[in-house]
Symmetry: C2
Subunit: 296 residues, 2 copies
């Protein structure tokens, strides 16, 4: 299969849906919606929504309900970037080659745009019109996965651990705990939400969860490598910021080549989790490779 065209196609579907999901800049409060849209349509790759869709496809034929469910993950991801970039947090001026949200709209609006995107994610997942295509018990489960992946024991918890580890001499196990929460839990939620929406069996859900955990780790190791090796143009943000902030990364433990090997091993292991799945899981298999080898 051609993963590049698959990614393009799914990204366009997600983008079209997101465009309908967030009110236009003509809707009051106009500045809030402008600020939400500014960061949401800043060129994201839509990895998390596409993982949810590919997971639903691996299990069966995804319902129409998968698009709002998958898109909700991008709202969560975007809000986390807006809040992470704030002066009180990472204090970043650029993201995806554009000024960060608070540099354009001010800190207050950036905080509120993040809050609104986070809330809108749960709005999308709880829409009544999803019920035509989705068992309501599964819809509640999907919402719960999103809350667990994004919350205090998931992504937000990981962000706290990350901030607390700055300029500290942490070991590899601690680094992995940070990553498992900060990045891994939302990727895990994405794959599980797609599987649950597609009526996965418990055995399928277990295998897909194991896949997601390996992919999440591969994703973060690749991100650490890119932070060292990528240029400002490739990354769309300042390069080598981890070292400047005294942040430990995979390359700081095992070198760039060692980290690349580790990421490849994670991708191999992720793919091996899908043994019992047929060709409908090929997008998930290709995604594991793509995530590990990406340049931005």
């Amino acid at each position: 299969m051609d993963i590049a065209s698959y990614l393009d196609r799914k990204r366009e579907e997600v983008d079209r849906f997101l465009d309908t999901a967030v009110p236009s800049v003509q809707t009051a409060p106009a500045t809030l919606h402008e600020s939400m849209r500014y960061s949401l349509f800043a060129g994201g790759k839509r990895i998390r929504p596409i993982l949810a869709i590919a997971s639903a496809e691996a299990v069966g034929k995804p319902t129409k309900a998968i698009l709002p469910i998958a898109s909700s993950l991008e709202l969560i991801h975007t809000y986390s970037l807006i809040h992470d970039d704030l002066p009180a947090m990472d204090n970043d001026d650029y993201r995806r080659g554009k000024l960060t949200n608070h540099k354009v709209f001010g800190e207050a609006m950036a905080i509120l745009a993040g809050d609104a995107l986070l809330t809108l994610a749960f709005d999308l997942c709880s829409r009544a019109d999803l019920l035509d295509n989705l068992d309501p018990i599964r819809q509640v489960q999907v919402i719960h996965e999103l809350a667990l992946g994004a919350g205090n024991l998931g992504m937000v918890g990981g962000q706290v651990l990350d901030i607390q580890a700055e300029n500290k001499d942490i070991d590899l196990a601690t680094l992995q705990t940070i990553h498992t929460h900060k990045t891994g839990m939302l990727i895990r939620a994405a794959v599980r939400m797609g599987a649950i929406a597609s009526s996965a069996t418990p055995a399928q859900l277990k295998q897909l969860t194991a896949y997601a955990e390996d992919v999440g780790l591969a994703f973060q190791i690749a991100d650490d490598v890119l932070n060292v090796t990528g240029t400002r143009e490739e990354l769309g943000k300042n390069a080598n910021t981890d070292a400047q902030r005294g942040k430990k990364t995979y390359p700081s433990f095992c070198g760039v080549e060692g980290a690349r090997t580790l990421a490849d091993q994670c991708a191999d292991r992720a793919i091996s989790r899908l043994e019992t799945f047929d060709a409908k899981a090929d997008p998930l298999r290709e995604l594991a490779r793509y995530i590990t080898a990406r340049r931005n």
Copy 2:
């Protein structure tokens, strides 16, 4: 009925539930949970949860599921206070007689504690164990009400309008639009969530919604009056801050006495909406009076 003892009893139930809902400070990340708990257990009156419970009681016998659902409203309310108090927003040092969250835990942790409380609200409402007592279609509807009340067209939208109106010469209609969103929409969500969880008929839901809209307005007018007339001790925060910030309020349009009369009229109208309800709606009736006459 004795509204004071009713409020005490319900507040204790909500507090006991919230104590189990938020991980203890022994659970990692400890500082995050400490920060969440600091603001959550700072002496809030739990008005929104109690409105949800009283609304469920007005319709019928509330299920056990009402407690997590009602408590989720307090998580949303608490997060909104933490974020509102941030230096980039209202820059307040005191809240309920205690230092604000960011003064104790720093800005980064305050932002993240707010994000985590917001997310945890949806975690509570989507718990699988609620299904024993709640039709899953109604559970999804409850979640959707919460998202609508808290989000870009609800509370967060109102906060944006409020910030944009500072030091501007707005008219009474604009002030009412701000309040309807900033305060009213979450109070409306509270009453509707309780009613939906308690299997309200469409006619009951309509009447309770009208009640909620009147109570929401009474609440905000009373808040504006308190900001002018309350002392620092009564309010637990600095008094007369609206005038200092150049914020228009109900007293600035119709004087303190005029605003008090307006709040009483709203409470009367709210109570009249409950005509067809029996004595099970008495707590809602008393709450309309309490909210209008409160001193903090």
